[in-house]
């Protein structure tokens, strides 16, 4: 017996390392399973099974009453409006911040003037502000705004504006920096202002990428605004949360279908817009 094990071990030179790795993995895994309260049996407990079975069986057929479909249409439009308004506001936040952090639009960087370190300082501070804006997920902002401003789409719009403002600002600056920055530099050296250098030096080369990233973010915002509804920020998510809390499977499945269709349409629309920009 032991000789066969030994010969097996001889055949696999990695056996000892593998066994050690497995042991370490088990030691790390065990507290993790305890912390996450890993109880697969809970899936099959009689009470849970019954709730789930009742809920899932009521998924079919999806609810199609005229009254509910009217509500659904309103919620869908609201979701789209939240995403669009949120992106518009975040654009307003992102553009000035991106302008401030873009290195190649810095006038003080060119000359030997005294403003150089002040310029660098401002850029570092704005960069940190951008990082702070996007560090907290939009759902968390939405929850905080719902508590501060009350239920409704306003909280969702503001939450999107803040997080996406931070993301767009950072990415705009990166896109502007990654292109050919020589025209802008030439303009600045010839004495033109920052805005002129932006519009005539950087934007022509980067416009398509900037626009297509903004459209892509809009698509993400549609998805995010559905998720934010779960904390009370209006739209499809709020409707789905209500249906789930009342265990109304028919409504939940209609909303889920609508959500899938909406995401697909947003996908198609954003692809079409980007193709148009190409």
């Amino acid at each position: 017996m032991s000789s066969t094990v030994a010969s097996r071990l001889d055949r696999d030179p990695q056996a000892r390392a593998r066994a050690t790795g497995l042991l370490i993995a088990a030691v790390v895994l065990w507290p993790m399973l305890v912390l996450a309260e890993f109880r697969p049996a809970a899936l099959f407990e009689a009470g849970n099974l019954q709730v789930m079975k009742g809920f899932l069986s009521s998924f079919m057929p999806p609810s199609t009453s005229i009254e509910f479909l009217g509500l659904l249409l309103q919620a869908t439009l609201q979701t789209l409006a939240i995403a669009t308004a949120g992106i518009a506001l975040s654009f307003l936040i992102a553009v000035p911040l991106a302008l401030a952090v873009t290195h190649s639009l810095s006038v003080s960087r060119i000359g030997p003037g005294r403003g150089r370190w002040r310029g660098e300082g401002v850029r570092v501070v704005v960069r940190m502000l951008l990082a702070l804006l996007r560090a907290i997920p939009e759902v968390v902002w939405a929850l905080v705004f719902v508590r501060a401003l009350g239920l409704g789409p306003g909280a969702g719009v503001l939450a999107l504006a803040i997080t996406y403002g931070g993301m767009l600002g950072k990415v705009y600056a990166e896109i502007l920096e990654s292109g050919d920055t020589r025209p802008a530099r030439a303009l600045l050296e010839a004495g033109s202002g920052r805005l002129a250098a932006l519009f005539y030096g950087l934007v022509p080369g980067a416009a398509q990428e900037l626009a297509s990233y903004t459209v892509y973010r809009w698509e993400c915002a549609v998805r995010a605004s559905v998720v934010m509804g779960f904390v009370g920020a209006g739209g499809l998510g709020q409707l789905m949360d209500q249906s789930m809390k009342m265990l109304n499977g028919g409504e939940a499945s209609t909303i889920l279908l609508m959500f899938l269709v909406l995401v697909m349409l947003a996908d198609l629309l954003s692809a079409a817009l980007r193709r148009l920009l190409a």
């Binding site: 993790m32 996450a36 308004a85 306003g154 719009v157 998805r223 789930m244 817009l273």
Partner: protein
Amino acid sequence: MTTHELTAAERTRAAGPCMTCVAVSLLLVAAVLASFAYLRVDFGAMFSAESMRLMGKFIAEFAQPDLSAPFVAKAAWATLQTLAVSALGTLLAVAAGGALAMPASGRFGMALRLAARALLNFLRSVPELVWAALMVLAVGLGPFAGALALALHTTGVLGRLYAETLENVPPDPERALVDAGSGPLTAFVYGSLPLVVAQGVAYALYRWEMNIRMAAVLGFVGAGGLGQMLYFHLSIFQQAQAATVLLAMLVLVFIVDLLSSRLRRGLAPVYA
């Protein structure tokens, strides 16, 4: 490049503004205006003196996080739970995604390939938070529901990525083993698997990073961790405690960002 003389008509067309661009821009502006009109959010009232004062008071309450030792310990425990939930969810997804990637990469015929792909697409297109709301019904409140929700969504993502990796693997080593007489399983494990393991681990780590951020939020629907704590304290208007939880989230996100960018720089040559 061939040059040709421009006619006068072409010249004016080139000089004039592009009509499609103008039309699309006008449509976009109209869409934005329509959105604000439809929502009827009263930004005037939102930024009025009265609500600004309330908002200021609300924020001022956040400025004093509860840093007493027992509460910090509680927040640290919830942070660990969030990490555990994200790790468990990702691990389950690696297993399930790997299993589904086999039929999805077309190893067992076209019908199974399409079926597996449809399932993966469905799993992926339902957001984590919606899965979490469902899983809370299935297994009750608590972190396990969060882990299952992350696992379901991530299975959709990883399964598709793994299927694509498997489709791109060169078939020769596996075929050589089969030709030499080894069984199909052995041939796969020794012929193809070693070629995709590194890529698979890289994908899993990347999703784990995203899942840590997501796990902090899933608690909003009752799936444990930092999110559940934040939701609870905000619900009973304990801003000081909520501020501590927000701080913990920020620290977690920053540490994960830092580590992943370090790691990625270290791994870049291997996985590039």
